[in-house]
Amino acid sequence: MDTMAAIKQTFFQECEEQLAELEDGLLTIEREEGDVETINAVFRAVHSIKGGAGAFGLDALVRFAHTFETTLDGMRSGRIEITQQIIKLMLRSADVLSDLVRISRDGGAADEARVAQMTEELQKACGIEPAPAAPAAAAPAAAPVAIEPVEGAALVPDEFGFVPTPVHFDFADEQPEEPQVDEFGFAPVKIDFDELLAEDASHTEGFEIRFRPKPELYAKANDALRLLRELGRMGEMEVTCDYSSLPHLDAIDPEGAYFDWTIKLKTDGTEAAVREIFEFVEFDCDLEVRPLISGFVEAPEEAEKVVKEVLAQVAAEEQAEKAVAPVAAAPVFEVKPAAPAPEPVAAPVQEAAPAVAAAPAAPAANAAAAASAPAPSATIRVDLDRVDRLIDLVGELVINQSMLAQRVMEAGIARLSDVAVGLDDLEHLTREIQDSVMAIRAQPVRPIFQRMSRVVREVADMTGKSVRLITEGENCEVDKTVIERLADPLTHMIRNAIDHGIEKPEDRIAKGKPEQGVVRMIAAHRSGRVVIEVADDGAGINRQRVRDIAVKKGIISPDAQLTDAEIDDLIFAPGFSTAEKISDVSGRGVGMDVVRRSIQALGGRISISSRPGQGTTFTLSLPLTLAVLDGMVVTVAGQTLVVPLSTIVETLQPKESDIHGLGEKARVIAIRGSFIPLIDVGAVLGYREVEADPVQSVAVMVETENQSQCALMVDAIIGQQQVVIKSLETNYGHVFGVAAATILGDGRVAVILDVDAIVAGSRTEMARIDANRKRNAA
């Protein structure tokens, strides 16, 4: 992959994160829990996407992001009132933005009409009349207009190139006077607006700039020195540094920021040009720029004195540091990669340069009482293949360790000998490594939950219902692969819940329910698995209708006696779909049977409970990872096999009296009044010719994907164990009755049974048995 493509890929990855943050923020605001910082975060997310897209020339994306940003900025400044309508508009815009990002990445055509409509709505929201000919093209010009007067020159420096446009003036007129006072109140003389906007108006003598970096500035590898040096290029400058907030050495946070610079810059440049220098750090520092009309340097001697003091201070601290920690001969900032690595540059900018050069070293090298400073979360991007390789290796390490332990035991070495104790420690370590490595793949379910809020919005819009999604436990962590494969089943369940579950607003009101329906998604860890509940407060399952359809479709016989739970379960039956006409929303030819199958493919289970008039709850139980599986280790005809624990209902020792022959070969076992087919695993897999004696065997009751129960006969149960799943397909191929392989503690390979295939292997007989059982039961 060439470098550009790699960078682009990173950009899209970041986009995903920004989009997630955007949506998260908007939802927080919707719940009225947001504060100014939330709006800022949302704004930043869109701003970052716009910036990156601009770098890659993704014009459509830039245009839309820009319009979006403009509206968000209106919200941020309080010019646009934050109402639920606005939030809804924002959320829909976020969806469009997300689509545009996806299209930019994967190709394909954007829904131009939707984008245009959204753009128009956004522009309306912030009071811009879209230009009739090319609304999108007009946006960049129009946007700063909307932002500028309110913000003052404070925050959107990239847009300042547009300031001296007449349009600006129009808008400024419409705005309350106050912001202008903010912006221009610093001027010591009264400046006429026209004059200010005139071409030469910005040619003041210079500016006084107050620049206070925040720790984030350094954390993002920006350097105050560079910025100051850049400023120095604009003209003559005087730099003073206020280091009064610098704490004592032992209280210093090495990643903190303590300096407050005041720069008096004599320049012909415009304020916009000054601000442009700080463009990339605008959120990470406090910046004030005021025009300096006269008296550029009032007291140069004093300034010089201050600079000298700073220099002395820094030098002293470096001395002290060396004295205190001679080991860390290298400056601390080099040890801490998160801190900026200021170059101890001598390159003179102006006469103030030495101070400037030395000063950034100080905040980096020093520590602070900046406990309040939010530390950026330290994350790295790693190729998934590398992680998987690591997981494989650790799996081997675990196997190797247990083999070694077994060998040592066999060699008759005493339990308390140094070797055995050392091995115990090794075991602990390897287990810990395994857990930690598995945790790398674990990801919070948050992104998938966020995607669902979009599904809810869309489906609610389509069906004309009012629905709110409440999520809980978004921080629950599951294997990345599980998360990825959850999207489709969850989408389907949410669609179903809204389309079939939640009633129309008028029906809800008639029933005395709140007009707005609620869909809850709750994730939680429960005994080594993750459980996700999708619940609606709708009408519940119409059992009579479900039953009628099942009869009509031949899934059950008209005289079948079914419990409520069994009727509810029918919606998972293949070929069952309650939608009488195929609707746009949930009737896409896939039914809940597909959902069940995809959940089962993940080693999970799905169940349903419904209360008429109160709603339906789907419960998914999923393994935390796909790399390991909880299995029951059994022996059959001298072979060790693993039965996935998720399929096992119970195990029992058959009694002679419970076994009944049925037909020529088939046998069933009577359990609590029902007859369950008995399958000899050894015979099905071809390990033995003659079927084993059931009384000498153990019956493992399993439940298959179509909910039928079977008893698998095995010779003995060895125990329960978590096993690492190894593919047989890689080097061999698919084997009937085998789902995968694993490596046991002794280093031998054991196969993991594919319970469904084994049961299906005797399906012909099963069908007969089933028929008989039904007759018996009836």
């Binding site: 081997e396 072979q639 190894k726 061999y732 191929g733 009755g737 390979v749 054991a750 196969v751």
Partner: protein
């Protein structure tokens, strides 16, 4: 890998690993050999062909072991600890070949590889690329990819 292998066979010098099956000698290209290890008990696979001895664990990977004698139509091996498994890489798959013993490493020129004589059994011939005459011995070059011919149903590549 396979391409590399083909090229090296076509090139001037080929390094080959020779091994015995009963009284006969065979060889495979050294470039496709990943490892040589002593016999370890295998885990039989259900419904596998008679020449698939089962699967073993090689540093965390699960790979099948083929009884080459049985595959060539000889008497199936009765593995003892003295038997050897040659781990070979064929395409993207890694498989083990169960043989009696590794005998030699040969360097031969491509020109000295002769076409398989028209006398051997049809089955054995289909797995051979050619024969090499060396010091009065005849060594047959195994065509690894045909040992592992994919079967049409796609289930069990070695079936």
């Amino acid at each position: 890998m396979t391409q590399l292998h083909e090229q090296s066979v076509a090139g001037a010098n080929n390094e080959l690993i020779a091994f015995r099956l009963g009284q006969q000698e065979f060889c495979v290209d050294i470039m496709s050999v990943r490892d040589i290890r002593g016999w370890t008990p295998t885990t039989p696979l259900p419904h596998s062909e008679h020449y698939v001895k089962g699967v073993i664990n090689l540093r965390g990977a699960v790979l099948p072991v083929v009884d080459l004698a049985a595959r060539l139509g000889f008497t199936p091996a009765d593995p003892t600890p003295r038997h050897v498994i040659i781990i070979t890489q064929v395409g993207r798959q890694t498989i083990g070949l169960l043989v009696d013993a590794v005998s030699d490493i040969l360097t031969v020129e491509s020109s000295s590889i002769q076409a398989t004589p028209n006398v051997a059994s049809e089955l054995a011939r289909s797995f051979m690329k050619g024969v090499i005459a060396m010091e009065g011995r005849m060594i047959s070059l195994i065509a690894l990819d045909s040992v592992l011919t994919h079967n049409q149903s796609g289930s069990g590549l070695l079936n």
